[in-house]
Amino acid sequence: MEISPFVIFFASIFTSNVLLTNFLGMCSYLSISRDLKSSLGLGQAVIFVMTATTVLNYLVYHYILVPYELEYLMYIVFIIVIAAFVQLVEMVLERFLPNLYYTLGIFLPLITVNCAILGVALFMVIREYNLLQSLAYGAGGGIGWTLAILALAGIRQKVDETRLPKGLQGAGFAMIVTGIMALAFIGFSGIISIS
């Protein structure tokens, strides 16, 4: 069944949020979400890299790996494509847009090891999306991830001033907030669904 790219775009932001339902990109999500500004910076970088690498990986998979029957190399090739793309973006930004480089630069190397980027590429292959669907999924996934990290950063800034039980400080608390957020996002699931 063909799902419209628009449906995929909105579904990957709300109902099938890569972070809240597929648990992708948790590591940087937990460690960067201490303040809003760096969350936003990382979020922008993730949206950009995720959209671009999903499309790139789609092209590489369908025009290079499938014709030569090299699908089993998928993991290695995807991770190389992502690492090379991030490196390239870093160099281009440094050369031509130094201002943007200083705001996003520190976040770019982090993205290579962000499992959300690789995860979205793997989901794209498993769900057999076409090019437009992959583009929508990559962009929606990035925006959904950014939405989640911004929400958590906002909540954490407020909660930092309150007293928590000792064992719950830090990661434990962030995890419970994320769980409640995931519950709230389940509320969207009546609207659209792609599974």
């Binding site: 089993y72 064992g167 990661a171 434990g172 419970i176 389940i186």
Partner: protein, 216 residues
């Protein structure tokens, strides 16, 4: 000397420096595969083997590896072992491979493996690196199994597919869904941190007492 070293590593990776609850690494797959105990065990064995063999390889190559390309080389080594795990799963356990979906591939970006390669295998002998990596994977498996037991028992009333709780139990649908994974892991982290906080407080007190006694 050597045996105490091994015991020390086991203690650190399984409890005092457990990768999941202390260092908060490898959370993605920890949450995603824990809805069934069987999925969790397969994933845990996979991660342990990949971590062990990656550490072994990185450690064996540590003297000839140029530092500049170290990260990239480590990623490729890890990806190589993940592909092996993936092929074995697909060939012998196709159902399991389907249930785990992309999370087998995502072992590559599991920070535990890279972390062990960087922190331990880089400066230790191959055999003990393998042990360290494998035990880190076991620490990860331990926490995941605990989460999975809670989730499967409350979500389906079963463990490993065997009915445990009987007909009177009303399954909690929430335990099968995503949010519960966050709640259960958060509770486990909370419990573990509280235990250590209590212990360190107790040992602080004894030290203080000792200081006072010697002062007197």
């Amino acid at each position: 000397m050597a045996s105490s070293n091994y015991r020390e590593i086991a203690k650190q990776t399984l409890w005092t420096d457990n990768p999941v609850i202390r260092q908060i690494l490898g959370i993605c797959s920890a949450l995603a595969v824990t809805n069934l105990v069987s999925n969790t065990l397969v994933m845990g064995i996979g991660v342990s083997l990949v971590t062990g063999f990656s550490s072994l390889t990185v450690s064996a190559l540590r003297k000839i590896m140029p530092t500049r390309v170290r990260m990239m080389a480590q990623t490729l080594i890890i990806a190589f072992y993940v592909i092996l795990v993936d092929i074995v799963l697909r060939a012998f356990y196709p159902d399991m491979s389907k249930a785990l979906g992309p999370y087998v591939g995502l072992i590559i970006t599991n920070c535990i493996i890279m972390g062990r390669c960087e922190a331990f295998a880089q400066m230790n002998k191959p055999l003990i690196s393998f042990y360290d990596g494998f035990m880190s994977g076991m620490g990860y498996t331990l926490v995941l199994t605990a989460i999975a037991i809670v989730r499967e028992l409350m979500g389906f009333g079963t463990i490993l597919g065997f009915p445990i709780l009987g007909d009177w139990w009303t399954p909690w649908t929430i335990m099968v869904m995503a949010p519960s994974a966050f709640f259960v892991l958060a509770s486990i982290i909370w419990i573990a941190h509280s235990i250590t906080a209590k212990k360190s407080a107790a040992s602080d007190q004894t030290i203080n007492k000792g200081v006072q006694a010697s002062g007197n």
